[in-house]
Amino acid sequence: MSKVKVLIVEDEIIVAWDLKQIFERLGSEVLPIAASAEQAVEQTRTGAPDLILMDITLKGDKTGIGAATEIRQFSQVPIIYLTGNARLMGDPAIHATLAQGFYAKPHSEPQLREMLKIARKKKSLE
């Protein structure tokens, strides 16, 4: 079975690098990191990830919610929001993006392992 492909959308590069290291250690493939909404949409189109980890506040004007909305127009890839901004959790726009989950930062390795298990299961069913 091929590796689960993960896209990390995060503008804080140290956090993104940490996530990348953990996912690689857990045996998945990590696409080049997207720091902006535009990069996220582009990477999803070209890299066809099996799971997207989406930060909400990003570099540039668009948020992660905007990126997810755009991605939903061409892909049903599972999206999990990971954000430090708890205020955004109640945003109805988030529900509209049919996200799989919502986690508050900072992330933990066990959390990421669970996410990956679900993504792997889903991939094997396809």
Partner: protein, 431 residues
Amino acid sequence: MSRLRKSTESATPQGTALRRRAEEIARKQAAQSPRAETGTTSSENPEALSPEKTRKTLHELRVHQIELEMQNEELRRAQVELDAARSRYFGLYDLAPVGYCTISEQGLILEANLTAASLLGVPRGELVKQPINRFILKEDHDIYYLHRKQLFEAGELQAYDLRMVTKDGTAFWARLDTAAAQDPLTSSALDADGASPFGEPQGSPVCRVALSDITELKEVEKQLRRSLEEKEVLLREVHHRVKNNLNVISSLLNLQASNIQTPEQALAAFRNSSDRIMSMALVHEELYKSRNYARVDMGEYLDKLTRQLLLAYGPGGGISLSAQAGGISLSVDTSIPCGLILNELITNAFKHAFPKGGPGDIHVLLRTVDDDSFELCVSDNGIGLPEGCEGRGTLGLTLVRLLTEQLEGTTDISTENGTRYRIRFSRKGEA
């Protein structure tokens, strides 16, 4: 007789005219009385009076005269008191430090003091019988109507703010303190227009209004509100930054942890992490000092950072550390990565450039290259980097590479006569 003469002599021109009129009336009365002509009434004919009666009449006349003079005196005193009261009223009412007017139930100005007239920019005469809403900004008419209704219905004092306009169209913020009253003067002030033919002993309901210009107060209030909003935005921003930095620290620790194999590495990892957190904390310290909480004076920052690192790595080593920042200040988003890069490069130089110890020099320079970019340069005169090690391998150099990427910058490494890192990054978003 002296009294009479005195009062006649001292009589004002008005008094003389009065006397003339009195004499005329007496003459007319005498002419109209037929008995006076025939002279049958003894009491009115002095020639027919006995000396006794004459004396008595004369006495009565004198007493009557004194009585009149006393009445006159009383009137004069009342007049003076009235004048004093009027001028006191003028001072109290007209020159009061607030505008004051009486408004009918229909909204017509019945009376106004001079302050009100000058607030509204019209001569007082022009105010009377004008509808008050002529001086209220259209958009605020409803405020006035609502409070007037409440005032007359519930009779409670109403205090409210609205925008008024002077005659020449200048708008100003006014505070209105209004009270309902029954005004006995209403009918006379209203003349034929409002007077009831039977006269209302109670008077008609009126509204008494104190009017103050609170434009300045409103301006201050607006500034305060704006400042509060700014502070709220700032608070959210700071909260966000703190959380963000804690996440970065958490990730730095994760990254550091994954490289540990020996107890020595664990100790070094703690020390490195502590330095990195310190370099981030100093950004916040400078930020706090900047008063606008948005920019960091990099000169001050470098000063502190180098002092801290010298304390940790310098003593006894004979290695000097100098820094220059050319008066550059950076936003938080840029200064945090800059600070972390500086920390990595400087500690790296301390640890690896001089394996045999000093003497040695480490120099840090932040400068403006051109309109588009800044350059951060960390150089030492040590042994230089081992072949193929530029920016790869250790976590420290990985962080430098990643953070340069975050700054959208480029790195140039030279290993001639020591090591020199030059990182050029965009001034976009920086003042």
